[in-house]
Symmetry: C2
DNA sequence: TAGTTTGTACAGTTTTTTCTGTATGTACTG
DNA sequence: CAGTACATACAGAAAAAACTGTACAAACTA
C-alpha cells in the first residue's frame, strides 16, 4: 500500500525540529539529522543516515560528532555489528538542561573572571593619584563591573537550579502528572 | 597623564563580553559593540561607535539594529541632538529573560503545532485499515510525538516562570540582598 | 527654497562556514 | 597474512555571512 500520510506526519515534525534547533546553535542540516534519528526505531549507522538525508557520509560523521559533543546523541554498541551505531538521548529534559548549563556556565565564568581581575586592577589604581576625570572614570567602571558581577552570581544560581534538578520541584515534568 | 591601566581594565571586560555573546547568537563584532556601549557614560552615536571600533558606519548601523531587535539596546532621544543616540538597556536580568523567553517560546510553539497536527493526522490514519507494520510505525511515532508534547508543555512553564518574574522568588537578585 | 547632515539600502568583496570526494589509517574477516 | 569494510582527516568547492563604500532618501538648517 502507498499511504504517504504516516511518512508526511513524521516529516512535518522533523522539519519543525530542524528549523528550531537554532536555539542549540546547530545548523538545520544537523537538526534534520537529529530529527531523523529521533524517529528511527533502532540506532542508526552513518550509511543509513546518508541514505535517509541524501548527504555525504562525511557530513553525517561530522554531524553526529557535533550532536555527541552537545550530549544529544549516544554511540551505542551492539553485538556482531561492525558499524558504529548512534541514537538520540531519550531524556529531553536532561538534554535541555545540560546544554544551557554548560554554555551559560562557561560564559559566566569567563566574564566573572574578567570582571574580578579588572576590579582588582581599578581598586589599586584608585589609591594612586590620578587626574580628577580619570578617577571618575575608574569609579564609573567599577560600578558597572560590580553590577555585572551581581548579575553573574544570580545567573550562576539559576544554572545551579537546573543542574541540581531542583527545577523539577518548581516545575513538574508533564509525564509525572498522571 | 598616560596611565593605560583604566583603559585596559575596561577593555578586558569588553573583550570577554564580546566572546561570550554567542549565547545570544551574536557575532563577536556585535558583542564588542555592546560592550563598548555598556561602558560608555552617555548614549552613543553611530559615528562615535565607528570611531571606537574602527569599523564602517554601515556595520554600526546594522549592529545596533541587531541589538535593538534583541531588546538589548534602546534608541534614546535628546533635545537638540540631530544624530540618533543609543544606549544599553540597564536591566540585564530583564535582557536575559526577554531573550530566552522569546526564542524558546517561538521554538516551542512551532514544534508543538507540528506535533499536534501530525498526531491528529496519525490518529485518523489509525482508524483505517493499514498493514500491520504501518500501524506499528504510526503507533511508535505517536508515542514519540506525545513525549515531545509533554516536554514542550514543561518548557512552556519554565518560560512562564521567567516571564512572570516568579523566578526572582526562587532565585533572589543579588543586588536585593544587601 | 537650496544646501547639509544623517541613517540605511544595496551591490560587491572578503571572510567564514558548510559540504563533498578522495585518501588514509584502523579494525575486522578469512 | 592479504583483503575488505569502516570512520574520519584533509583539501577543495560551494554556500552563507560579515563587512565595506557608494548612493540615495529623509530630516534638518538657514
Amino acid at each position: 500500500m502507498q499511504d504517504k500520510r504516516v511518512e508526511n506526519a513524521r516529516e512535518r515534525v522533523i522539519e519543525s525540529i530542524s528549523k528550531n534547533m537554532d536555539i542549540y546553535s546547530v545548523t538545520p542540516s544537523v537538526g534534520r539529522l537529529y530529527g531523523a534519528m529521533f524517529f528511527e526505531k533502532d540506532p542508526m549507522t552513518l550509511d543509513e543516515m546518508k541514505d535517509k538525508l541524501q548527504m555525504s557520509k562525511t557530513s553525517m560523521s561530522t554531524g553526529v560528532r557535533t550532536l555527541i559533543d552537545l550530549n544529544m546523541v549516544d554511540k551505542v554498541w551492539r553485538k556482531g555489528e561492525r558499524k558504529d551505531l548512534y541514537e538520540v538521548k531519550s531524556d529531553w529534559y536532561q538534554t535541555f538542561t545540560d546544554f544551557f548549563c554548560i554554555h551559560w556556565r562557561k560564559g559566566i565564568e569567563m566574564n566573572r573572571d574578567a570582571c574580578k581581575e579588572s576590579i582588582a586592577e581599578l581598586m589599586k589604581v584608585m589609591d594612586e593619584d590620578l587626574s580628577k576625570e580619570e578617577k571618575m572614570m575608574a569609579e564609573a567602571d567599577l560600578d558597572k563591573m560590580s553590577y555585572a558581577l551581581g548579575y553573574y552570581e544570580w545567573l550562576n544560581k539559576v544554572v545551579d537550579l537546573f543542574e541540581s534538578r531542583r527545577i523539577f520541584d518548581v516545575i513538574d515534568k508533564e509525564d509525572e502528572l498522571k
